[in-house]
Amino acid sequence: MSALLELKNITICFGGLVAVNGVSLEVREGEVVALIGPNGAGKSTIFNVITGIYPPTSGKVLFRDKDITGLKPYAITDRGIARTFQNIRLFKNLSVLDNVKIGCHCRGRAGIFGALSRHPGVKTEEKVMRDKSLKAMDIVDLTGKKDELAKNLSYGEQRRLEIARALASEPVLLLLDEPAAGMNPQEKQTLMQMVQRIRRIGITIFLVEHDMKFVMSLSDRVDVLDYGSKIASGSPSEIQRDAQVIAAYLGKEVV
């Protein structure tokens, strides 16, 4: 299998602080890959570089063998990478359905004149968007809440809505930034089933997560970051035995 997403020697500096230092990693098509590491290791920063929120100081991001380094976020979404956010970023005052419809944005075409004229093409597009949105909501079990305002959803539902919104952009690769954060064990269980469901549709998943049970039972491969550098990469069972990883999480013995 060839790499769907490839990071080559990514370094990001904020002023004098090196947040990510020469990280290379790859995500292959159809995999579920997890990126773990202690707080402040640079996991979210890497996500922000992949999705174009900020450009890397040096290094390259390749997606389907094409260089996407430094592209704007909306261009990257258009190429098939969607994401969710660690601190939920929903359109709070809009309905659940509208939130997901906005996720379809980059797959539509109607502009100002379409809005004013509502010619048949626009109507069909709206209908297609609606159907696609409902399907995305169905995957995360939110169909029943379609007219609710996003801000009135429970915490777990809001996290799921973020996933539905990302799915609506018809991504090839889905980035989940701490999807299980703040969820209770039951919610985590449902979330795990949903991730499996998304995987079966054929979407590759790259996730950042702190919950080890969640990571170890879902992922095919795990990459570990510590202080901005990659310290390990391998299958979940390999990672669990890796001395460096254990040291990063639990600390080293002082001689």
Partner: protein, 296 residues
């Protein structure tokens, strides 16, 4: 009956109601920029003035039919909107506000100092083309247009930018492009309002389009309820009619006007109809009626 007819044909009342319509058109333009897209503009009156002067000059010097000079007014304002918007819409919140405020002052000073606009003594000799029917036809058209824009892919993208720009961007929306488009439409509508104003007053003076006027437009939109078309209509109607109806209290007029605004903000901090979705309210009401019919 005669009394009612007397009121209806009283030129003063007709003038007042026409002015409300003209202000409402401009306010609806600002509604798209501030209420829907979330970009604060403190220079809206400047765009109205650009439209007013441009259309008046086109009428006076080129003798074009009013419809065309109205269009020219709208396009001139939209052009200014795009030229100002391109560099400044990268800014957000307060910074954008200050830039638009500065732009408003520049426009006013330019009109005071230009010969063709009549300078500080104003521009005279504009034919009267505007009437109440034309104004309200444009009002209806603008409301219809805004409603359609809001409920479309384009409008959803604008609301997404208002709600969370970073999230909107990761959903595939180019924020600068969409803000610029919203600005172009909003200022175009302001220009149309200016054209109607010019061809009603038959006289233009830069002093009518100062910062205070820009602020009034913002009041209409904010006090009515940001992001709500019915709110904008209500806000404009109340705040433009209040000073007229308060004339009987003479010198206390502006005092009461101020108190009215403070009271509105205390009791409805999100504006009169802020956060109220009329369609949703109606739907809930209908559902409740249905439920009541089913229970017995």
């Amino acid at each position: 009956m005669e009394a009612v007819l007397g009121v209806l044909t009283n030129p003063y009342y007709i003038q007042v109601v026409t002015m409300v319509g003209i202000s409402l058109i401009a306010a609806l333009g600002l509604h798209l920029i501030t209420g829907i897209t979330g970009q604060f503009s403190f220079g809206h009156a400047a765009f109205v003035s650009v439209g007013a002067y441009a259309s008046a000059l086109v009428t006076i010097h080129l003798h074009l039919p009013f419809f065309l000079s109205m269009l020219a007014g709208g396009l001139a304002a939209a052009l200014c909107g795009v030229l100002l918007g391109f560099p400044s819409l990268r800014l957000t919140g307060d910074y954008l506000g200050i830039t638009t405020l500065g732009f408003g002052e520049i426009v006013r000073v330019v009109f005071i100092n230009m010969k063709i606009t009549g300078g500080a003594s104003g521009l005279i000799g504009i034919p009267r083309e505007t009437n109440i029917f034309l104004v309200y036809a444009v009002v209806v058209l603008t409301i219809w247009g805004m409603y359609r824009i809001q409920n479309s892919r384009f409008g959803r993208a604008l609301t997404a930018i208002r709600e969370d720009q970073i999230a909107a961007e990761t959903m595939g929306i180019n924020p600068l492009l969409y803000k610029l488009k919203a600005f172009a439409i909003g200022t175009f509508v302001a220009g149309i309002s200016g054209s109607l104003f010019a061809h009603m007053m038959q006289y233009l003076n830069p002093a009518d389009f100062g910062f205070a006027r820009s602020f009034e437009y913002l009041n209409f939109v904010v006090l009515g309820g940001l992001g709500s078309i019915p709110g904008t209509i209500l806000g404009t109607a109340i705040l433009s009619l209040a000073p007229e109806f308060l004339r009987f209290v003479k010198e206390y007029r502006m005092l009461i006007y101020g108190a009215l605004m403070v009271t509105m903000m205390i009791f409805r901090p999100y504006g009169l109809l802020g956060g109220v979705d009329i369609l949703r309210v109606l739907r809930n009401y209908r559902d409740r009626l249905k439920a009541r019919r089913v229970t017995p």
